[in-house]
Point group: C2
Amino acid sequence: MTAQAAGVSVAVSTVIFALRPSPHDGRMTVWLPLVRRIREPFDGRWALPGGPLEADEDLAASAARTLAETTLLTPQYLEQLYAFGNTDRSPGERVVSIVYWALVRSDEADVAVETENVRWFDADSVPELAFDHNLIVEYALWRLRNKLEYSHIASAFLGDTFTLSELREVHEAVLQKPLDPANFRRQIESSGQVVPTEHLKTGGRHRPARLYRYNTAEPDPSNGPLGTRQPSAPKDAS
Amino acid sequence: MTAQAAGVSVAVSTVIFALRPSPHDGRMTVWLPLVRRIREPFDGRWALPGGPLEADEDLAASAARTLAETTLLTPQYLEQLYAFGNTDRSPGERVVSIVYWALVRSDEADVAVETENVRWFDADSVPELAFDHNLIVEYALWRLRNKLEYSHIASAFLGDTFTLSELREVHEAVLQKPLDPANFRRQIESSGQVVPTEHLKTGGRHRPARLYRYNTAEPDPSNGPLGTRQPSAPKDAS
DNA sequence: CCAAAAGTGTTGGCAGTACACCCATGA
DNA sequence: TCATGGGTGTACTGCCAACACTTTTGG
């Protein structure tokens, strides 16, 4: 007995976020890559990258794979967003989509490829997408902005070390509002999420800034018992 | 091309929470119903209620259906928890489980049926379950305790009207710690989540307590763009 | 009257905000 | 030297925990 639910197929899609300078004012904003559909339904429309789940592939691994296939990048952060499975979300077919959201480093995203069928869009002005993908993007953006305030994810947009100004720029770009540098500094420092290094960043026409690193000892309180353990790490004792 | 991912089947399971008095000290604690498996794998083990997803059934509808089948109750609250889909979570078969969690009224749960193959367990001392269901229960409990602090879900354990003491008892039972009645009152009242009624509850050997009702006007900020609206959930008649 | 829970008042600590101010560098 | 961002100090405000106190019922 296969217990295979008749007619229900499983797909995995991923909302991939990166920060890029806006073409207008040059300020950093949130962007995401979309792929153009090349068949029905919704032929020609933009959609989230993804595809059917392979039988021998974990959910997060599938998300990481399609992410790499579309952007040639590896995610700094990857987390499940939601499972969308309404009966009417795909015309003529029953598809349950397990959607992940990912963060990639902004400097890497700058050089990411764009082709005829892969393009980056400003997250706050995406076109009309295929399926229910507009709702999915909206929800992912909401989660990103929400989670930024109580988690450590901002560093996923940056490299190994960074100044507090760079970290603040990330917050400002995601939350779309300016933050007081003094208060931001104290907030981050007292949270224990970051740890100062010996090095400074020079080169600006101003006092050099201390470089910080992420505090790997400090636990991320965000996901509870599921932890932040990432793609293809299906192991968990206890 | 059917796009049917070969060998991947979809199931929906539900973690159902209710408050019941502890058999030891009589204090209210969190309980959940489990069903005994009657075939391999894990024959004889306790497991979460659930079953394969029907092709013409929305995810939340499937969760509500199995909930009704096992407890004869309708949920006051129902929300998706997570999709579990590791390749090794079910021996010999690839199953992706979309798991929901639900809250049912405590007074209804008191009279819920128990049979040979359906039994209620204290949520903090469940036995060793089938599949990865121990992890799922642990995660659902974490979400419940977490969400209680920034959402409106506590009232789902109660009837239409309730005293602030009753609401506080719910919080104390879920969070497993006593709360200051005075501060709890102000916190709840200032949140605008509840609204006082004209009626009082008499009968105790003490001053009567005002009955409150849930404020349906106030939005629940918990789920963002997805809202608390549950796809084709057979409730929410008010 | 007393016991017990309903409900109000008051205080102190702590976190977030606004903003003034000094420091170190490149040009 | 000046402009610019790095970094510190400080006062104000609002929320929350603690707890003393008053109110209203049943017995």
